[in-house]
Point group: C2
Chain length 266, copies 2
């Protein structure tokens, strides 16, 4: 039985899938990350992964995020959840084969949103899993929504929600760049990596970004990072590392020095 | 939005998998059943499937049903749930491709048992799925247990629980024989099919069976059927048909005359 504060690890969809492909998983990356997770042997751990080329194209095809407008979308909702369970299955397969007592916990089964924000979350079983030393694995998913009928719940929102709910000791975010930059490092050579940000610096970046994601010059990264503000406000530190590079996630889980962006309240 | 009383359809693990194989799914049977379900177009439907050569051998290997005794079993619990999600994934894939708005609802995420019997079941989302016209799909699964640590929750127990909870109009049980016999039809040529049983006849068969499943001459079938007694007591009729034969499940779903065993309260 473990009463340790959990670490919440997010693995980006762009890390474990090829975003340019269709339903294209990077099983070699998934396996390497499982090895790192096994090696780190964190006492209490929650894993959340993204959708990459599984969830996103399907959700977009049927307009799931925007909500229920017509009957035909229902099969689209079913398909979106289904492809996410397929990606999740590949992750689970790898974790279990690496001897990690990982159990999937589908957000579509327990989360209810209102206009895209988590309103309620049935966590009876999740709490017990943590207490017993299991590693719950969740993911961005199609979920029912009280106002929209249904929508898409991002893994990033889920990470902050679970970290606050379970009083996480820290959050580790594995992405496909070396951390958070002031511009998209894939497009701009002069993009500068933030090594450390405090809450007010993050909030000022957020307000510069405004409400339009089209103006997100960081390549969509800030839009994800602002989801973490509620956790940072609760003094839960965040480390953003490149999960595409070996041992970065391992070092972040272990609390070792690692290239990346650290976000802390102060 | 549908407020119709749901039909609960159970599909036996021995129908959709080869019980002599290991992780051996019968995808052609799964596809035929999806066609029948699509064709029947039941207004409100819950599907529950068994584990066959996926869940059973893995659960047995690690002694999951008997509960948590040692740390090493935890990965066995994780593996048991994982292989069930793999079989469920094949079922979901087929249902969604047949244009059925089917969504998987993992029992391990929402059910908590006590000595193997369902004690609580988080059904907020399941209720909404039914109301919105989705087809929730559940399955026999490894679940956490308040006394045993964890155990195996059978699809049969789940069927009766859900049927009573949601006031089902009927239960259809798809198995690999033509119905319930007075002896194992695979072993005895003289086995006689029960065409109709009422509650007291079923109870008398149950008491003859006693507590030892080893003495279950019906080939394990009665042990499954007695799980349905709580639903029959609530006047929910049960039709047991051979899901291995074409159109039996379809006819039972439609309420058409079909070879099989009907169990009713009176």
């Amino acid at each position: 039985m473990s009463e340790a504060k959990p670490v919440v690890l997010k693995i980006g969809g762009s890390v474990i899938t090829d975003k340019d492909g269709e339903l294209a998983a990077r099983t070699e990356v998934i396996n390497r990350l499982s090895e790192e997770i096994e090696k780190a042997h964190v006492k209490s751990l929650i894993i959340v992964h993204g959708g990459g080329s599984f969830g996103h194209p399907t959700a977009q095809k049927y307009g799931i995020k925007e909500g229920l407008r017509e009957e035909a979308q229902k099969v689209g909702f079913a398909e979106t959840h289904h492809v996410m369970t397929v990606l999740n299955g590949l992750v689970m397969d790898s974790l279990v084969w690496h001897n990690i007592p990982a159990v999937s916990d589908a957000p579509s089964c327990c989360a209810l949103t209102e206009n895209g924000r988590i309103k309620s979350f049935g966590d009876t079983i999740l709490k017990l899993y943590l207490k017993m030393g299991f590693v719950p694995v969740l993911y961005g998913d199609a979920t029912l929504d009280e106002k929209l009928g249904f929508t898409v719940l991002s893994g990033d929102q889920l990470v902050a929600y679970l970290a606050v709910k379970f009083g996480a000791s820290k959050i580790v975010i594995g992405v496909d760049t070396d951390g958070l930059y002031d511009a998209d490092p894939k497009l701009s050579k002069n993009a500068k990596l933030y090594n450390h940000l405090n809450l007010s610096e993050l909030q000022s970046i957020k307000s510069k970004l405004g409400k339009s994601t089209a103006s997100d010059v960081t390549g969509g990264m800030v839009g994800k990072v602002v989801e973490l503000i509620p956790a940072v406000e609760q003094s839960i530190p965040v480390t953003i590392v490149n999960a595409g590079k070996a041992n970065r996630v391992y070092k972040a889980l272990m609390g070792e020095a690692v290239e990346g962006t650290i976000i802390e309240k102060e």
